[in-house]
Every structure is written in C-alpha cells, then in structure tokens.
C-alpha cells in the first residue's frame, strides 16, 4: 500500500462505507480544526463521536464525549486521529481492539509502522489527509472555494 498517494476510488470507497466515526482529539473549541471537521462530517450524515480525555464539557456538537475509544459503547467504523504522530501508534492499537475497519490520520500525522500493523489486522489506513477535505474534494464542494480538486468527469458530482 502506497501511503504517499491515494487513488480517488480508495478514498471514496472508505467515505461511502463508514457511517460512525470516532474523532480522537476532538476539541470543544468551535474555532479549532477538529471542531470544523466534526461539524462538517455530521452535516454529511455521519455519526461522529468525540474522544478527548481533557474535555471540560460533557458533549460536543450534541454528542457525548468519551475519554477513550474503549469507553464508547457503540461500534465504530472509522477512527480519525487528530493527535501528533507520536501518539498515533497507541491510538491505532486501541482502534484495532475496538474493531474499527478504518484508521484515518489527519494532515501532518503519519506513522508507517502503525499503519502496517493496522493493515495486518485487516483495517484500511489513510495518513496525512483530512476526511473533511477529501469528502468535499470528491463531491465537488471544495471547488466552490477555488481549490483544484483534480476531479475530471462529465457526470454529475456526488461522493
């Protein structure tokens, strides 16, 4: 698996399959990037569960905040890591234990050894990307901001 470049089909497949996403490092502060991503993914129909042991509020965007992945009672399809690369390995272990099908690391977050471990356990892995940006790129919304989405198609856009 080449983690320097992902095909659109690979990313689209993940974003179409997953329904429940746990964001590790979700912030309660409305102008932080993780809050932007959580809010956007909610509007696209995903259930997003915030994980943050340091949160000072019980809920973020109407979802209960958990201290760890293991505490979440529901099944999780994807774990989105909003923490530094050094913390990724432990979160990947927890994602495998939780039965997640996908581990997604945010822009600037990458741990190739942890990725190999997740893939060996049957999970799909994306690193150094943002699911909000990729979703909006693939469905065309990112182009509304003048961004080059790289999508060339004579069909109507959808994810």
């Amino acid at each position: 698996m080449n983690h320097d470049a992902y095909s659109d089909d690979y990313l689209r497949g993940i974003l179409r399959r997953v329904r429940t996403i746990a964001i590790v490092g979700a912030s309660e502060n409305w102008n932080r990037p993780s809050y932007f991503a959580m809010k956007y993914l909610q509007t696209k129909g995903y259930r997003v569960i915030p994980v943050n042991p340091g949160a000072s509020v019980p809920e973020i965007l109407r979802e209960k905040v958990y201290k760890s992945l293991a505490e979440i009672p529901d099944a999780i399809d994807m774990v989105d890591i909003f923490r530094r690369s050094e913390e990724a390995a432990a979160i990947v272990d927890a994602a495998i234990a939780k039965g997640a099908k996908v581990v997604w690391m945010q822009i600037g977050v990458r741990d190739d050894a942890a990725a190999r471990k997740a893939e060996a356990a049957g999970l799909e892995v994306v690193m150094n990307r943002c699911p909000k940006i990729e979703y909006s790129r693939l469905c065309g919304e990112l182009g509304w901001s003048g961004v080059n989405t790289g999508i060339i198609s004579a069909k109507r856009r959808r994810l």
């Binding site: 497949g13 901001s145 003048g146 080059n148």
Partner: protein, 433 residues
C-alpha cells in the same frame, strides 16, 4: 481493496475543457451556467453560522465566491498545476490581492524592471500608498535580485515572458535566489500562458495572470487570477504572519493551521476579496471559461503566426531590430528553449530605423491590425508603447522597459498569416515616406 495507485494525470487540453466544470449540480446543465446573483439563502441559522465561520463550504455573497467564478478558478489552478486560485476583476487586482496577503506597511519586494508599463506604475506609485516599496532591477542578470534584497524584503516578482520586450527570465535561478533568502517567488505568466510556460515547475510559489489576455483569448472579458502552488510552508518563516497568526475578524482562526495547503486560497477569498472587493463578474468568468477551452489550439496558431511575422520583419529594410525569443538572433533564444519549449509568445516588439515618427505612421497605416492597448486577442493588435501604454514613464524607464521611441509592439492573432504580412508590408512601405 480498491486500487490505491494514482491514475495518470489528464493532459493539458483535457483540463482546459473539463477542469472545474462537471455538469451543474442543480440542473445538469452541461455548459457552466452564469450565476447572476449577489447572494445565496441559508438553510437555517446554524448553516449561516457555519458559512460565516468558514466551517463548511458554500456560497454566501458573490463578493467572496460565486459558482461561475469558482469553475474558472479551479480551471486556471488546474492548468497551472496549482492547489487553488482566486479570480478577480483584472490582472492589476490580482497583483494587489497577491501582495496584500503577505505585505505589511514598510515591507519591500524586488521586481524585474522589464514589466508591463501598467505594473511599473502600480508598483512605483499606488503601492507606495499602502507602504509597500518595490525595487526594480534588470532581470538579465539574476544576481541583481539578490543584491536588492533588504531585511524587509518579502518577495521577488517577474514576468515569465516580459511585456512588451519579449525578455525571458531565468526562472529557475531567480527562484533559487528567492528561496535562499526565504522569500516568495511570484511569476506573472500572462504573456506565455500555462500552455507555453510552467512556472511552478521552475520554483514559483504564486502565479498571477491577467485572464483578459490569452486565457480568455477573445478580447471581450476583463479578469485576473492568483494561483497558489500550495507548496509554501507559511509556518517556517515568521515573515508571513497573516496566514499563521490568529485572524481577529474570524475569531482568532489561524488559516494555515486550519486549512493547511488550502490556506492561501481560502484567505484570498475570505479576507482578500472580502476587504479589497475586486470581484470578477460572473459573465466575465463565463466568457473566460469558454475562451480557455481552446487555449492550446489558439496558442499553437498564435505562436506559428508570430514566428512567421517576426522572420518577415527581420528581413525588412525599414526594421532596425526584432526582439522575438524564437529568432536565433535573440539573446533570449537559449532561455526560451528551456522555459518556452513550445514556442515563445505571440507578443513581441521591433524597432523602426526612423524612430518615433515612423512608429506613429505605422500604427496609423495598418488596416487589419487593430491599434489598441491590449494583447492576447484572436485579432492581431499593434501598439506604439512610447505614445500610449508607456507614455507615463520617463525616457529612462521607457528604455529600461524595452519601450523606447522607435519600438512597436505586436500581438499576433490567429488570422491567415499571409494577410497579416501583407498588411504590415503596405503600412511599412507608406511609413517610409
């Protein structure tokens, strides 16, 4: 598992027709609709808040973004190989917006002195009112840029192919000088167009365009564009605070941290267009989208016609010199082969042996060439810079810009080349008397 390999990138001509323009999501309209609206309804208060907070994508007010304009932005970004683009009202507005993003009062940049005359005036006069200082240097010696750098310098600015003198800048060397000093390298690629020259591949950080010229191509729509390479590490250099420090008007949002390599593009709309207001009209975006589809076809013909006219002029007894980098006689021939391998631009100058008066007679004696101040039209255009576009400059500035009294500028169109040569031939014959 899905194949994770990256498919081959589409070719230039495919991008020119398709990039940014999938069928209209609302109606399926295949041609890009002209969204002639100022504003867009909110779903509810929370949606409005998300838009104002930049938390979601969507249209709010056409001073910032408009669906027709954003198709053109993505098209231009794709053709230059950039991350994103901001389209604006004119090429001059593009320059203001590009510098506005990172310049503060008291800051400085170094620019080539061989530029479009209007840019020299803009940099030397109006930019001073913002407290931005420009030093102009001869780009033929790239070390001149390094020597002009001060502690307040933030960027180096050049035209890839200078208007009107046909000077080709050694982009790779100047890029290295800029990056060695931690500066941005900004290239105006208007005269070459992305079909002929690829500034990002030689190290440019930002590209600016007057889309009024070859991109639109038909002399009917004003516009400009700033394209971001997406490769600048804004956090690495404390000179570029506007993208890394909290933005008070967005409640302390930090653009680079929040938007990563989209930061410049988002800032250009959310702050640049919001406050400068130099918005591109949707109908001009539509005309430019239509024009840009044939960019490759037009440029091939423009280049072939221009080289034939330049060769004709080089042999004409009334002509002192021809400055066209496609001619073996040009000092820029070597640089042109490297940076403009598909041919040099259709805009070039030549000198008349009989000076200023012969220039005036020539522009008044042609019949097929249009005497006007523009370039990059399907129609062939002629201009005597010393009596028009460059008349506000001093004699020294005119000479430095390659626009002395004997100089005539041509922008060769896509007509039958024999007709263009015949028109020049009759006008040169009468200009000689």
């Amino acid at each position: 598992m899905a194949d994770a390999r990256k498919p081959a990138a589409p070719g230039f001509e495919t991008l020119a027709v398709h990039a940014g323009a999938s069928p209209d999501p609302a109606t399926g309209a295949r041609s890009t609709p002209i969204y002639q609206t100022t504003a867009y309804v909110f779903d509810d208060v929370d949606h409005a808040a998300s838009l104002f907070n930049l938390q979601t994508y969507g249209y709010l007010y056409s001073r910032l973004t408009n669906p027709t304009v954003s198709v053109l932005e993505e098209r231009v970004a794709a053709l230059e190989g950039g991350r994103g683009a901001i389209c604006v009202a004119s090429g001059h507005a593009a320059q203001v917006l590009a510098f506005f993003t990172f310049m503060e009062p008291g800051d400085h940049f170094v620019a080539a002195n061989k530029l479009y005359g209007g840019s020299i005036t803009q940099f030397g006069r109006s930019f001073k009112k913002f407290g931005w200082e420009a030093t102009l240097v001869d780009p033929d010696e790239p070390e001149n840029f390094r020597r002009a750098i001060t502690p307040r310098t933030k960027a180096i600015f050049v035209e890839s192919l200078a208007n009107p003198s046909g000077v080709v800048v050694d982009l790779e060397r100047v890029a290295r000088i800029a990056h060695d000093a931690g500066l941005l390298f900004i290239v105006d690629n208007t005269m070459a167009s992305p079909y002929l020259c690829r500034p990002f591949e030689w190290g440019a950080d930002l590209i600016v365009h007057s889309t009024t010229k070859f991109l639109s191509g038909h002399g009917n729509a004003m516009g400009g564009a700033v394209i971001d390479s997406g490769k600048v590490d804004w956090a690495k250099n404390p000179k570029f605070k506007s993208l890394t420090e909290p933005e008070p008007a967005y409640h302390g949002l930090r653009f680079y941290e929040t938007f990563g390599d989209l930061a410049f593009t988002v800032h250009g709309h959310a702050v640049g267009l919001r406050d400068l207001g130099a918005t591109m009209a949707p109908v001009n975006a539509f005309l430019t989208i239509t024009g840009i589809e044939t960019l490759a076809l037009r440029m091939e013909r423009h280049v072939a016609n221009a080289l034939a006219v330049a060769r004709y002029l080089e042999r004409h007894p009334a002509v002192a010199w021809v400055s066209h980098a496609g001619l073996a006689s040009s000092p820029y021939h070597g640089l042109a082969k490297k940076y403009l391998p598909k041919g040099t631009g259709p805009v070039f100058t030549f000198g008349l042996k009989d000076g200023y008066d012969a220039g005036v007679k020539l522009v008044e004696g042609v019949n097929l060439f249009s005497h006007l101040a523009n370039v990059g039209d399907t129609r062939s255009l002629i201009l005597h810079p010393a009596s028009t576009t460059h008349r506000q400059l001093t004699a020294e500035q005119q000479a430095a810009a390659g626009a002395g009294p004997e100089v005539v500028r041509l922008s060769i169109g896509i007509e039958s080349v024999a007709d263009l040569i015949a028109d020049l031939d009759q006008a040169l014959a009468s200009a000689g008397h």
